[in-house]
Symmetry: D2
């Protein structure tokens, strides 16, 4: 087994050496720019489809960011761990089976960390966590997600995850169903119901990705809102992952595992 | 025919003499309070169910506010016009037939004015009018209405009227359907479609009556929002009607007929 | 020393026995109503100014809610602890000196709990805590508080506390001053600066008490908002205090000490 | 005098022939793209600093968009009118004197139109107009403008113009000062006062240009909000000007002169 680098604090003099896989995609190219602009990181390899992974080890990368495609990511990460390289993964498509195989591999790969995050937007992660906490204290909870009109599915995955988080919070507090006396709603204005929570999807020219979570009690309202105006908003989360992955050996699913949300 | 009072400007010395019909209901009792507190108005009669309408003429009322019930309002207003009393009506239940009969009666009743308003919230009237104008200039338009969880129907009548206003504005500008690439929405998160406009209904403890209208174009958003926190918010509209009705002979439907919305 | 009741879970059969001090004030009378309406609580005494505190023990109260005045609260609570009664206190006016004396008394009063909370609005407590966490992850943070136009001071105490919480979060994350290139602001549009955070105060007819906290990073925004539409919104916090105080012996300052904010 | 083109409706077969002056600036290059992408418009000339204006006539332009600099715009427009070319101007720096000279020139230039617009964001124009109308009906009015943290001045020019519009609306309705009992505001949280209206300026990473106008009455709130997420949001206004300018001979100041805001 290849020896692993000890977790270390990067400095401008000794920046962390980072490779990007999927570097020619939109997210990948944004990640390359973000790594290049960070004083404590150095972009040592940028691979596109078809490029040989050995470029990663040849460049001496300590950490690789995988922003490729569902069909390639599991094999990429297996290779990275095998070669002692930490991985930060934003690609979807992981299954219980591929995750299980990765966990086994990591158990034997002393000190290597892998972060798989479905959502690198720090604000979306905060909204989800805070929603679970706030849900314990309010009678009503409802979600409005808003996206550009080219989105193919409704509601968004983030909204579904948030509904699940709210449902967990309500269950923990022993709350029953949300109050709703609606008897007549011929056209479905009350929206989708996900884990008992009503979810509304707005599609609007000029928007990117937005989520509003509203809680209501007698005489009061509490609102969480996250707006992504641009895909660069995912980069602080990617860089947070890069900086922290070596300090978190084994598999972490979800960026919140690296955040101090106390 | 009874002679009608000429329209006049009320003063604290010579306040307008106002009767309230339906004075023991929630809206009616709020109207009595509002009239009593207005320095230029005087409450001269407050009638509940079963009280004789002659109390209105005996008290010398110039204007009557009808906040009764659908089954009584048309007959009340017929009687008021017959006796030369202007009427401000917030009761629903008017049909094309009863409106037609009233128009005929008013044509012969020189100088008497009747205002029938389905919504006395000035903010809701403004939102509807502004929505029709703004709709001409944006690709996307969507409505979110929010109410207390005891409301029985969804979406609200105000939201339906606003959707119709937006549709008129879009048609006037030659706009086609709103852009929406949604292919997969198994649970109905995209909400109701009213006159081609998506309408979402939120039901939340602690809220009263709220409407948000969102418009979107490339790189921008325009939002109209109206919040009714309390039913007293309808009273400025009722008082506006009372003060203006004598200056608008004949039938006016909708408070916007009395407002300067240029 | 008087023996203390063991913490217990209240049931409709054996409700917690609650006294309210300051029962004729606006908050106190709302608290009486809230206790009466809660199936697991029983209002056994309601004292106004001048009433003798012995009515509390005679009625067999286990817990007292103090919503009196700054000049009376410290002496009331001393007496309650002396008689083995838990106290939930919403009155302001506590000083380091009176808090210190209370702590000493409680150290000797085995098992008695006292909660002193400057703000019983659960949403305000959530907003403050979440603001401190979110502050670690964003370049910019700004506060807008909005109240009715009869409020005498600006900004609100809650906004000041929130600014302090944000400042703590930023310091913990090693963040410097918020970015702000303003060179020309002749009329003070940038608002107050509290602990390095800009705070804006809106005064608007129809509003009650509202707080908006906005965080900004490259390409994204995160917003926390709390709206109190009515003073009944403080009651869930008061009841939470009543239900939990016996399980928290000693002095707790701030409702968040009883909340599960992980 | 050069003969002027009659106003005509452009078609994809016979598009309007458009020149852009200041084509290498950020706004100018966005305008070139917008004209090129519009099926009813044709970009026939794109001039940068130092280029000879005769390129405009040589290319047969009917309309020119001036997005140059304050020191050049008045002379450019004089030349365009002299050569029978309509002008749409987004450059600032016009004075009473230069406007007066232009008006004189246009009086003699039969049929030529010039539009000078300080703000091409349609949403900002709508917000300003609607604010003036709504202001008549509410006790309270307040403005919150929000921009990126690199903005040098506060509050924004748009917010100042909106405050003036609100003041006009309030004056027309006979309203006095906004209610405000603030006695103690040591740090200036109540913001700037412009024409009697409180204006707050937020500076936040990730934002571009946003304006919120809030109106309040007893028990209700009315809100207008405009968000510019990107400078492309100005292009629909520029194109509206280009399409309408030939139908509006003489000088028009402000895009609202071309909009149907009834």
């Amino acid at each position: 087994m290849t020896p692993q680098p000890a977790p270390r604090t990067a400095t401008p003099e000794e920046p962390l050496r980072v490779a990007v896989l999927g570097a020619r995609g939109r997210m990948g190219s944004a990640a390359c720019t973000a790594v290049e602009e960070a004083p404590d990181l150095e972009l040592v390899a940028a691979l596109g489809r078809g490029d040989d992974l050995t470029a990663v080890t040849e460049a001496g990368a300590e950490i690789a960011i995988d922003l490729t495609v569902p069909s390639a990511t599991a094999e990429n990460v297996r290779w990275l761990v095998e070669h002692g390289i930490h991985a930060v993964v934003g690609t979807t498509g992981w299954t219980e089976e591929t995750l299980g195989a990765l966990r086994e591999q990591l158990a034997a790969a002393d000190g290597i960390g892998v972060l798989i995050a479905p959502n690198f937007a720090i604000g979306a992660v905060l909204a989800m966590r805070f929603a679970e906490v706030a849900a314990r204290y309010y009678d009503s909870a409802e979600i409005i997600e808003m996206h550009h009109p080219n989105k193919l599915d409704a509601p968004s995955g983030t909204a579904r995850h948030t509904a699940a988080a709210i449902a967990r919070g309500r269950a923990a507090a022993g709350l029953g169903p949300v109050p709703d006396a609606t008897e007549k709603d011929p056209d479905g204005a009350r929206g989708a119901v996900v884990d008992g929570i009503h979810v509304h999807a707005v599609r609007q020219q000029g928007l990117v990705a937005h989520e509003v979570v509203q809680f209501g009690g007698v005489g009061e309202q509490f609102v969480l809102r996250h707006d992504s105006f641009d895909r660069v908003s995912f980069m602080p989360g990617v860089l947070l992952g890069v900086r922290e992955v070596a300090a978190h050996p084994g598999l972490t699913v979800g960026l919140d595992g690296y955040m101090d949300l106390g």
